[in-house]
């Protein structure tokens, strides 16, 4: 694990504690009373993605063709406390890009994808005035920090699968539409950025949010 990844993990763990600190800070609400409710919300999403960094096709390859479009799937578990700062974990799979060509007349291809393993922090824009029906109050910004498992596959005279870990981050904005008490539908635009391997990817997802636990 490289130093930057270690630092990012440590700071992310520290940040994971922050919502808890908010919980235990002296109450400014003079009405006092019981805190809560708290929820755990599971998000499952899928959509399309476009790879935004330069790819490097080896010069020895001929008749090359690159595909920057891919798919993006997400599973996310978020703790929604009784304040606005939510935190949780996310993983999934995003296909970054692929290219193919020939080497001395023989077909060759490379596929690259990423599995994010991120600590997620999310905040709805709930400080805006208005009712719960206000559209802006249903918009949330999301940030993620952690690692990406970058997977690659070379197919040329055999197949070589390899993977490496890259520190990285994620940024996103989503709109959530309530459906029922425990079910919501969301649309999220996301920017994935594994920094160590110099990748970036833009994705749009439709998401289903399910309130799994409440207390």
């Amino acid at each position: 694990m490289n130093t930057k990844l270690k630092i990012a993990c440590l700071l992310s763990l520290l940040l994971l504690e922050l919502p808890g600190w908010a919980q235990f800070s002296p109450p400014t609400d003079t009405t006092g009373g019981k805190r809560g409710a708290y929820h755990v919300v599971l998000t499952v999403g899928g959509g399309g993605s476009v790879y935004r960094s330069a790819i490097g096709i080896p010069p020895a390859w001929q008749n090359t063709e690159a595909n920057y479009a891919g798919t993006s799937f997400t599973v996310r578990a978020l703790w929604h406390p009784d304040h606005r700062f939510r935190t949780g974990l996310e993983t999934g799979l995003t296909t970054f890009y692929s290219y193919k060509g020939t080497i001395n007349g023989e077909a060759a291809s490379v596929r690259v994808s990423a599995i994010p393993i991120l600590l997620i922090y999310q905040m709805p824009l709930a400080w805006h005035t208005g009712t719960e029906r206000s559209l802006l109050r249903r918009v949330a910004v999301t940030a993620g920090l952690g690692a990406y498992l970058i997977r690659s596959q070379l197919t040329y005279k055999g197949t070589v699968n390899s993977q490496e870990i890259s520190a990285g981050w994620l940024g996103g904005v989503s709109y959530t539409q309530p459906l029922t008490n425990s079910l919501r539908l969301a649309a999220e635009v996301r920017w994935l950025n594994p920094t160590a391997t110099r990748e970036s990817d833009f994705a749009v997802q439709a998401q289903v949010l399910w309130r799994v636990l409440s207390w």
């Binding site: 080896p58 490379v110 005279k157 920094t195």
Partner: protein, 420 residues
């Protein structure tokens, strides 16, 4: 809440990274024309030595060492003059200006510990009874050789005067200046990648007399030069692929990977052929970074040692044993004749294995008694990988070593050649 957002923003910045983006593009393209023009072998020999620096040469210290090197291209040789400055691992590489009427050289200077670089042009002069005149032939008694010219500190900077005046011959004591990773690291922005044929050809221009090269096996057991245990963008151009060299066959490596400056990853065979046929290097340290049998490496080591011998080259090729795995691979060789080794482990093991060279890590200190004992037994002693300039000076002047492995070969060479 604002503070939380600030922390988040800070973390994002951390993740985006503080990647140091710096460059030191070499501001001069060597023509690499064969031949030595008016610089006859006698003139070249007479030029080598320690010189006092005057004029605007402050960035290069009070004295420098001048040393010629060549690359043999088969029919002829390409000569280059290296000026070792001793400040910030600095050096000049100058080539012969074959079109000039006078004995003149052009090229560049570079400091390896920072981004300092620029162009330089010098002419050879002689000073006799206070008169400075162009130099045309071997020095006469009473002549003092001088190099006078200019240098700049960037393409748009003004040229500054530089004068070098001969002081004394180079320190003649036998000593190996061993350049790490074939000549230098890719990270040091030398214009070529580490562990390549190109850097091997340049190693002597950095003041090196020998090189250390890192050998790994491909999946189909072809020994190739590559340092890291993983393919990464520090050393190779982005292609989407990762893993280790040993995950890929030689053909996959050749067709799908390029090193950072566009070179192919060379085989050990290509590297040794380049060293024997094209350079004047006299020591090769094959660092065994591979796992598995050592037979293929030994075969190449023996073949090219013999090729060097037949060509009248004084070249020693040793197989480095950095750890117990390499030691076991060496022990497993069916025939150890004509296989000189370099042992990086404890002295007792170096003795037991009959190592030609004992090479402890420099951080273990000068180890004066052990060094003397090893040398008394006929072994040479090198240390690795010494890049701290302060310790380089100390080890060069006090430790009585036979050689130093460094990423800063110009600094090692400077301290050695200027020692009195």
């Amino acid at each position: 809440m604002r503070s939380l957002l600030l922390i988040l923003a800070g973390l994002l910045l951390l993740a985006i990274g503080c990647r140091p983006v710096y460059e030191a593009p070499i501001p001069y393209d060597f023509s690499n024309k064969p031949g030595s023009g008016q610089f006859s072998p006698a003139i070249r020999r007479s030029m080598e030595g320690v010189y006092a620096v005057s004029g605007g040469g402050g960035p290069f210290g009070r004295q420098v060492a001048l040393k010629w090197s060549y690359i043999n291209d088969g029919a002829d040789s390409v000569h280059a003059l290296t000026i070792l400055t001793g400040v910030d691992a600095g050096f000049f590489n100058l080539e012969i200006n074959q079109t000039a009427d006078s004995l003149s050289l052009t090229g560049f200077w570079r400091k390896l510990v920072n981004q300092g670089t620029g162009q330089a042009a010098l002419s050879l002069l002689r000073k006799r009874r206070g008169q400075v005149v162009p130099y045309k032939g071997p020095a006469l008694a009473g002549d003092t050789l001088m190099l006078r010219g200019t240098f700049d500190t960037g393409t748009s900077s003004p040229r500054q005067p530089l004068t070098l005046t001969y002081l004394r011959p180079l320190n003649p004591k036998p000593f190996e200046v061993i350049a790490h990773r074939g000549g230098g690291r890719t990270a040091d922005l030398l214009g070529v990648s580490e562990n390549t044929l190109a850097i091997l050809q340049r190693a002597a221009r950095f003041g090196a007399t020998g090189v250390e090269i890192d050998v790994r096996y491909t999946k189909d057991s072809v020994p190739v030069l590559y340092h890291d245990n993983r393919l990464n963008q520090r050393l190779i151009q982005k292609n989407g692929l990762s893993g280790g060299i040993s995950d890929y066959t030689y053909e996959q490596v050749q067709t799908s990977f390029r090193l950072l400056y566009g070179e192919q990853i060379p085989t050990l065979e290509q590297a040794l052929r380049t060293i024997v046929d094209n350079t004047d290097l006299r020591f090769v340290w094959i660092d065994s970074k591979f796992t598995g049998s050592m037979v293929r490496v030994q075969t190449l080591q023996q073949r090219f040692a013999e090729r060097a011998r037949l060509r009248g080259r004084r070249l020693q090729i040793v197989i480095g044993l950095p750890g117990t795995e390499a030691v076991e691979a060496y022990r497993a060789l069916p025939n150890k004749a004509n296989t000189p080794i370099l042992c990086e482990l404890e002295p007792a093991l170096a003795r037991e294995l009959g190592a030609a060279v004992w090479a402890p890590r420099w951080t273990l200190g000068p180890q004066t008694d052990e060094v003397k004992a090893m040398q008394a037994e006929g072994r040479r002693v090198f240390v690795w990988t010494l890049d701290d300039l302060l310790f380089l000076e100390k080890f060069s002047n006090q430790a009585n070593l036979n050689g130093i492995l460094s990423n800063y070969a110009p600094a090692v060479a400077y301290y050695h050649y200027t020692a009195q």
